[in-house]
């Protein structure tokens, strides 16, 4: 290899390596605490005012709560509705559970997104930016709660999910569903305060609640927290999600990237020099000891 080629080789390897250096630690302390909502399912009466308020605030499909008999079956959020209330028959009677984005503290969808279209705002809500999104739908793969929904029937599909009414929060208002709730099932606040209130309720009514606050640790902790009178797997929650924040699952891989990105070229460049046979000396001749001759 002559000098000119050496420079070409080294330069092309190094230049290619530069833009892929993707690991930048962003651990600046946020002055604000994340906000969330505490859902006390023992208080919910299934009036679905939150569904209506949500759809009106986000210009989505507004359900006809009086006549659509939607509580007959268990529904999921969709590309038309950010939140739904479901009815579960349990040993302690009918339980109504509101479902929407959990606004994870370390959200899988955010970690998966290659363009930061899914974004964890410093106030806590996870929002989606249509100007950035490429529509790969890997956020839907990553989300342990199956929350992001795609508009498959549109030439320009949006990813639809609860934003915790981010725009209302910035105006100093509470989320539309919380505002609409007539029974104080929903309580908006900072997670630390909400956890205190939730623990207080469980402590004061140990027979009324199961001693678990869903969202305290699930998937690394979520912005929305749930209290329940019956075990959570009976009211439509997955209890097998673990307590590891989902981005942790890819961390090991991402950490090994620089090792490969710089280790492998170094090894291969060295190898290719070592294997260069241009000035090869025939080893069999050189290393033969006199006694070996046959």
């Amino acid at each position: 290899m002559d000098r000119r080629q050496f420079f070409l080789t080294t330069a092309s390897v190094c230049a290619g390596g530069m833009p892929t250096n993707t690991l930048k630690a962003a651990d600046a302390k946020e002055p604000k605490e994340f906000v969330g909502v505490l859902v006390d399912t023992t208080r919910c009466i299934g009036c679905r005012s939150c569904e209506v308020a949500c759809s009106e605030a986000n210009s989505n499909f507004v359900p006809d709560v009086q006549n659509d008999n939607a509580l007959q079956q268990v529904r999921d959020t969709s590309d038309k509705q950010y939140t739904v209330v479901n009815q579960f028959k349990t040993a302690k009677g009918d339980v109504f559970v509101k479902r929407q984005c959990m606004h994870c503290w370390q959200a899988a969808c955010v970690a998966m997104c290659l363009v930061n279209a899914m974004y964890k705002n410093k106030e806590g809500p996870v929002t989606w930016d249509g100007d950035k999104c490429v529509g790969c739908r890997f956020c839907m793969v990553a989300c342990p709660f199956d929350i992001p929904k795609a508009e498959y029937r549109s030439w320009n599909p949006r990813i639809m999910k609860c934003t915790m009414c981010y725009e209302r929060l910035q105006e100093g208002k509470r989320p539309a569903c919380v505002e609409a709730c007539p029974t104080d099932t929903l309580m908006f606040g900072q997670k630390r305060e909400l956890m205190e209130i939730a623990r207080h309720r469980v402590y004061n009514h140990p027979d009324k609640y199961v001693h678990q606050i869903y969202g305290e640790h699930e998937a690394g902790g979520t912005g929305w927290l749930y209290l329940s009178a019956v075990p959570f797997d009976q009211i439509g929650f997955r209890t097998d999600l673990g307590t590891t924040p989902y981005p942790e699952y890819t961390k090991q891989f991402l950490v090994s990237v620089p090792l490969v990105l710089f280790g492998v070229p170094a090894l291969l460049l060295g190898l290719s020099e070592l294997t260069d046979r241009k000035n090869e000396v025939l080893e069999s001749e050189e290393w033969k000891k006199p006694g070996d001759a046959e």
């Binding site: 080629q5 892929t20 590309d79 997104c113 490429v134 342990p144 599909p157 990105l261 290719s272």
Partner: protein
């Protein structure tokens, strides 16, 4: 004569030359054309509907299966099968083993086209493909995203493979100076390309690490990235054997002066490499099987489905390769390569589609439109491949 005039006349010559070469050659009504032309035309119509009325109008994707065969087969499987390019360039340019030099060009061409068409098929699946430049330019870098890494590596690897292949194009267009310059870039491109391949072959697996609650535990482990990388080695080698077998039949007259004995030796070498890497892969799977107590999961359909993949389409072809190498039996090597490829296709589809949300009653099945578009992608790639090998010095040096 001044330089501008030289460049202009040279440019004119190249344009006229390319124009001449673009014209079709040979017979039109071959069986392959009769099948592929209608499928490509129907595929184009389907794509029209897909871009006007949305992905949901032609696919069976839904809110719980956001990825179908366009990603699971075209992209994830296609990239694994294109792994041969980085393995062979490593052997020839880094280890400098000349025995495989004669298959470098065709392997790199196959890799390049596979990435252009199969990774390119990703744009058909993206909801907002016009934003595809966002991860590359602008201020929206998802630094902590595996997908960000994979998308960058796809792009860079396509460029490095284009550089690796470019001397052939220069030779074809009779641009001697350009050829010399581009040849000098080869080693750098090869080394960079191998690095990128290690990262994005494993990165494709890492994309599914966060889908932990959704992938059947027999296919999910924290080592998916390692599995994907190791299996891409023998997937690539088997693909070279498979493609080489077909190319040798179809393009017989292009191989002028080709030494058949030498080709046999190459096939045996590739088979040996595939056998040993498959055994390492199988050994790793066996370790995982014991470590995660997977025998408890070998019940019912999913257990047998898993055994079919690991025993039937990894271990058995592995032994077939080893047996065939000992007995110099090329026929068995070819059968083993087909089985291995089926195993890789099954593995990638299991992770992305089949064992994904295995607990659902309402499983995803591809629609006929998805199948036609997938075939369209494969056929178009073969068309371009055929066009290039019948014109450029790929299979053999120009006489």
């Amino acid at each position: 004569m001044n330089t501008t005039a030289v460049v202009t006349s040279e440019l004119n010559r190249v344009i006229r030359f390319v124009w001449e070469e673009l014209k079709p050659r040979g017979k039109w009504l071959t069986p392959f054309n009769i099948i592929s032309i209608p499928i490509i035309l129907i595929g184009l119509v389907i794509l029209f509907f897909r871009f006007v009325y949305g992905i949901g109008s032609v696919t069976n994707l839904n809110q719980y299966y956001p990825l179908g065969i366009w990603v699971g087969f075209d992209v994830v499987t296609g990239v694994a099968l294109a792994g041969g390019a980085y393995v062979i360039t490593f052997v020839v340019y880094v280890m400098r083993i000349e025995k495989y030099h004669s298959i470098v060009r065709v392997t790199v061409l196959n890799g390049l086209l596979a990435y252009i068409f199969y990774a390119g098929a990703l744009t058909l699946d993206l909801g907002r493909p016009w934003h595809i430049v966002n991860p590359i330019i602008g201020n929206s870098f998802g630094y902590n995203s595996v997908l960000f890494l994979v998308s960058w590596h796809f792009l860079l690897y396509m460029i490095t493979m284009a550089v690796e292949f470019s001397p052939v194009v220069a030779e074809w267009a009779k641009l001697e100076k350009a050829r010399k310059f581009l040849t000098a870039l080869t080693l750098g491109a090869v080394i960079f390309g191998i690095t990128l391949s290690i990262l994005h072959q494993s990165g494709l697996g890492a994309l599914f690490l966060m889908a932990k609650p959704k992938i059947h535990p027999l296919w999910y482990s924290e080592f998916i990235p390692v599995m994907f990388f190791v299996s891409s080695i023998f997937a690539g080698l088997s693909m070279i054997i498979f493609e080489g077998t077909i190319s040798h039949k179809v393009f017989k007259d292009l191989l002028g002066g080709h030494d058949h004995h030498q080709y046999e030796e190459i096939l045996l070498g590739l088979a040996k490499g595939a056998a040993i890497t498959m055994f390492v892969y199988y050994f790793f799977q066996a370790l995982l099987f014991i470590h995660e107590k997977r025998w408890e999961l070998i019940t019912g359909f999913w257990g047998y489905w898993y055994l079919l993949e690991i025993i039937g389409l990894v271990l058995i072809p592995c032994f077939m390769y080893a047996y065939a190498v000992r007995n110099r039996n090329l026929a068995i090597i070819k059968v083993a390569s087909v089985l291995t490829l089926l195993g890789i296709i099954l593995n990638r589809l299991n992770v992305t589609v089949i064992a994904y949300r295995w607990y659902d009653l309402d499983k995803y099945y591809p629609s006929w439109q998805e199948v036609v578009v997938t075939l369209m992608v494969v056929f178009t790639e073969i068309w371009v491949f055929r066009w290039i090998v019948t014109r450029m010095p790929v299979l053999a040096k120009r006489q």
